[in-house]
Amino acid sequence: MNTLQSPVRGQGRSYRIRARFCRSSPGRELVFAMLLTFLAVTANAACLTRGTGDLGVIIERASGSVQIVDTTARSSLFRVEGLGDLSHATVVFSRDERYAYIFGRDGGLSKIDLLCGTLVKRVMQAGNSIGGAISQDGTLVAVSNYTPGGVKVFDAATLEQVANLPAVDDKGKSSKVVGLVDAPGQKFVYTLYDAGEIRIADMSDPAKPVVQRFRHIGRLPYDALITPDGRYYIAGLFGEDGMALVDLWDTGKGVRRILDGYGRGEEKLPVYKMPHLEGWAMAGRYAFLPAVGHHEVLVVDSAGWREIEHIAVHGQPIFVEARPDGRYIWVNFAHPLNDTVQVIDTRSLKVIKTLKPGKGVLHMEFTPRGEAVWISVRDRDLVQVYDTRSMKLIAELPAEKPSGIFFTDRAHRTGL
């Protein structure tokens, strides 16, 4: 728009244009209209005309910026700055995959346009936040907060607030909220860290949310996930060896403890970073989950939620992610062992490969059909791309202190 405005900003030039226009013949009018069109096009030249199904967002945690990347060309398209404190950040996508919603540590909610590389709107909705989700129908965006605790819900188009869901427990104390996901039936499901409670908010009528509560789920739930079918919601517990499960198809059964005492009484190792229960690493009936305080990946049979194996790994697992076909599981680790990625074969349940991308491996994201995985290596200011079949490095992109990597195919997956 700047190019269009500049000729009329000075009075003299503006006058000259008008004067010429007054004297103009129909031919001249056409030329003038074409000129205006040309200027308008030039103004929008920065916006791309293409699909967004192979795009993604990389968080640059220390500089409050993101890169918009192309996973086919393995290149960076745009850098968007001014997004605040992204030392912890997560991203969801509009279901047309044009926009990304970025939830920052400082309570900022930013909507960016992937085709134009621009910040569309940004609201400061809380003092300190941890995560977000987009509703089943794509019209609502929810943010989970630490300070003050609770969940706020926004119109996905305008970022106007439509609902506030406080996380106050029975004693009147506000709780930090973790593990916020969307669920079928226009619901958001989330967990109260301090209170040890799971809640389901039905947002069918945003003006009148209906909240269902599940108390006494266990001590210090640190994160949660939902199965891809949207049926089971599972919260990981930091305060005890076990997880809390709610069957969303049968909420009358209440909350159920699974994997109780998975540490088998072994002394807990220090945890220098909280594991993330993002997504759902599944291969056939088996689910793969990070143990807490044990350098193990737990293998669970989803048919009865019993542990069938625990696989010794390099360190405290942070992300345990299945390649989309479920053939291999990729795992990264907490400080000080965060220079390593291990790959588990889901048939033999053994570690078959150990990679050393470098210090500060923070996140891994598979391309939609899993031929490649993108890995952020914070301390080397790099994002590395590995071929998931050969497990060899095939590309590197520079990025400032990269952390989370998010590809647009998440737009169509429940819980992401």
């Binding site: 945690r61 220390a62 404190d85 030392s87 912890h88 540590r105 400082d106 003092g127 300190n128 941890i130 630490y146 300070t147 930090k176 973790v178 860290y193 210090l220 640190y222 930091f238 305060g239 220090p270 945890v271 220098y272 970073k273 909280m274 400080h335 000080p336 500060g360 914070r378 301390d379 202190k401």
Partner: protein, 102 residues
């Protein structure tokens, strides 16, 4: 992680020597990036509490040093002893109390 001389220094009760410049840079990086995972890059808190000067004013230095070295039971705060010496922890507490490096 600790080199032998540093380790011996930890065991002894020799008066605390401040970490050298290189170690200070390492500690600041650790504070921002790894402590920051729970306490926030800007120390305003996350799953862990805020570590700004006003949050620490009424806490004793000993308590803070011990919390860093031995963790805090019943919370996710892990013990950093083994990776951090007493001098390291004391230096970090000073940095936090003075709001340096923000």
């Amino acid at each position: 992680m600790l080199s032998a001389p540093v380790f011996l220094l930890c065991l002894s009760t020799v008066a605390a020597a401040a970490p050298d410049t290189q170690r200070q840079a390492e500690l600041l990086y650790l504070l921002n990036q790894d402590c920051g995972a729970c306490h926030g890059l800007t120390r305003k808190g996350g799953l862990g509490p805020a570590l700004l000067p006003e949050n620490l004013r009424n806490r004793s230095v000993t308590l803070l040093v011990n919390t860093i070295l031995d963790g805090r039971d019943g919370t996710p705060m892990p013990p950093w002893r083994g990776e951090l010496s007493e001098q390291d922890a004391q230096w970090l507490v000073e940095v936090l109390r003075n709001g340096e490096g923000l």
